[in-house]
């Protein structure tokens, strides 16, 4: 079976033009990354700021072209630098952004936001479009009465639901989720993660899930890729990566993630009281 998304040796260079005092230079944002995701699966791309994960997201979403390498969607090679995208290809990959406050047009009603992709890409009657939007609204856990409201009337979690609904309007095969829950509160984060899981099983969606939060990744991912300065330093199934990390950076990342289990807290408090008594003991002598 052909994977929904396959990337072979993707690179992306940025040319930083020189000025009077600086020489022009080239920044390698992504340095030869390869991966593939099968239908209905989730690939998580993990890394810290500046590791190239968002650049990669823009390449996969066909917003920016790759400098070199092959991007295959449903087995078809895509190169937006040389040929314009067809509406069909466009609608196969959609994106959900991190910040739910910037990703919805503040001057448009929810209904207009949802029907816009259909107006552009599909020949459909207005009432048909509206019915589709209403159905999608309910699917993501919102109500029909929200159709005529503006984005500023919604909470962050509800906006993220609208953003997800909008991305699904064109029935995409692949959804790129660029830190979709990191701007949300814990309780809302849980709701959105549940929603994403439900939608994935209902529509057989494939996810590329970009995140810096390892606990979320562990919860949602099938495969994990860890990026560090533009390189994929670790790539494998979730269990393999979490149970037996190979690269030292992956191990650093795991060690830095705060632990919320009771043993960890107990150990910390014990260390603390030991340090306190150690510090006061010489004084007592």
């Amino acid at each position: 079976m052909t994977p929904v998304l396959e990337a072979r040796d993707i690179t992306r260079d940025y040319h930083v033009p020189g000025s009077l005092f600086k020489k022009s230079r080239t920044v390698h944002a992504v340095k030869g990354v390869s991966f593939s995701v099968g239908e209905g699966k989730t690939l998580a791309i993990v890394g810290e700021s500046g590791c190239g994960k968002s650049t990669l997201a823009r390449i996969v979403t066909m917003i920016d072209p790759a400098t070199s390498g092959d991007l295959l969607i449903d087995g078809r090679r895509i190169d937006i630098a040389t040929e314009p995208l067809t509406a069909d290809m466009r609608s196969k990959v959609q994106i959900v952004f991190q910040n739910p406050y910037g990703s919805l047009n503040p001057r448009r009603k929810i209904g207009e936001i949802l029907t816009e992709p259909l107006i552009i890409n599909a020949k459909m009657r207005a009432d048909e479009r509206e019915a589709r939007a209403m159905a999608m609204l309910k699917k993501v856990g919102l109500e029909e009465k929200h159709y005529g409201r503006y984005p500023h009337m919604f909470s962050g979690g509800q906006r993220q639901r609208v953003a997800i609904a909008r991305a699904l309007m064109l029935n995409p095969r692949l959804l790129v989720l660029d830190e979709p829950v990191s701007a949300l509160d814990l309780s809302v984060q849980a709701q959105v993660l549940n929603l994403l899981a439900d939608l994935q099983s209902e529509f057989q969606l494939t996810y590329v899930f970009i995140s810096h939060d390892l606990s979320v990744v562990r919860h949602i991912a099938d495969d994990v890729m860890v990026m560090y300065f533009g390189e994929a330093v670790e790539y494998g199934s979730r269990d393999a990566v979490f149970n037996d990390p190979q690269h030292s950076y992956t191990r650093t990342l795991f060690a830095a993630t705060p632990r919320v289990d009771i043993e960890a807290i107990r150990a910390r408090l014990a260390r603390k009281s030991a340090a306190a008594s150690g510090a006061s003991a010489p004084a007592a002598l």
Binding site: L186, S187, Q189, D213, A256, P258
Partner: protein
């Protein structure tokens, strides 16, 4: 004696749709050498409560409290001038956005020396030496050279270290950290949290950690206050809170952590709870 003691703090804002009560009767106290975490989601009034206590809110806010004492002194009766002297010197704050908290027009060395100039009687030379000392304390390598750098030349983590150095400049008795690591990467977050806890123990400061992140709470706190919609709903020491949370909201919050997920789904708060259920068990 408590370092900071607040009783029945109420903060109201005037807005277009009428008065809005952001903090509703919160009481808390911090002892010297203690790490108190105030945890809550957005809109729980956790930052506003602290800003109000420091007198740092804009004019649209109305702040009342039955008691607001710092180190035995009544902050409510204090003149603005006196309060400003206390805040900054004896109480220091660090914020979420380290790069935005520093003035982009001046070198970080100038800014830290400025803090020293306002709050201490040190001369120029002594200030320089103290600034270097502080930079080394917060783990900034090549401190001498770094003093001459501008905020935009430094990373977020480095800027947060500078902010901590500025906060420590006058040996404060209480440090308030408002989401100090939210804007930072995980590995940097670890470093900053370790640094804060280490400095707190070393100086015997009180530390208030305002956060939405249960992980940060677990890694740093001695005692925890959980806030929801402007009210305090639970207060416990950290182990008790994680082991045996009393309030239904706290329980829901902990079970919503992806680490604690059972199977494919996460329990969510609004599915389980109404406001009445949450407030029923809340201490006043």
């Amino acid at each position: 004696m408590s370092l900071l003691q607040i009783e029945n703090l109420v903060v109201e804002f005037q807005t277009a749709s009428g008065p809005f009560r952001a903090v509703d009767g919160v009481s808390l106290k911090v002892d010297p050498g203690e790490v108190l975490a105030i945890v809550g989601e957005s809109g729980s009034g956790k930052s506003v409560a602290m800003l109000a206590a420091m007198g740092l809110l804009p004019w649209t806010a109305k702040v009342t409290a039955d008691r607001l004492e710092f180190d035995g002194r009544d902050m409510l009766a204090m003149s603005d001038r006196d309060r400003r002297r206390v805040v900054g010197k004896e109480i220091a704050m660090i914020f979420q956005e380290p790069i935005a908290s520093l003035n982009p027009c001046f070198t970080v060395g100038f800014q830290i020396e400025e803090v020293l100039r306002i709050h201490t009687g040190l001369d120029r030379r002594a200030r320089r030496i103290r600034a270097l000392e502080l930079f080394e304390q917060v783990g900034i390598p090549a401190a001498e050279e770094r003093l001459g750098h501008y905020p935009h030349q430094m990373s977020g983590g480095q800027c947060q270290r500078v902010m901590i150095a500025c906060a420590l400049a006058c040996n404060p008795k209480l440090l308030i950290a408002d989401e100090p690591t939210t804007a930072l990467d995980v590995t940097i977050q670890k470093q900053i949290l370790d640094l804060l806890v280490e400095l707190q123990a070393e100086h015997g400061m009180g530390l208030i950690m305002i956060t939405h992140d249960m992980g940060v709470v677990a890694e740093t706190a001695d005692r925890v206050i959980v806030q929801y919609k402007g009210r305090k709903i639970e207060e416990a020491d950290v182990l008790t809170l994680f082991e045996n949370p009393k309030n239904a909201y706290t329980r829901a919050l902990l079970s919503a952590l992806p680490e604690n997920a059972v199977g494919g789904r996460l329990p969510t708060i609004s599915e389980l709870l109404s406001d009445e259920q949450i407030f029923a068990g809340a201490p006043r």
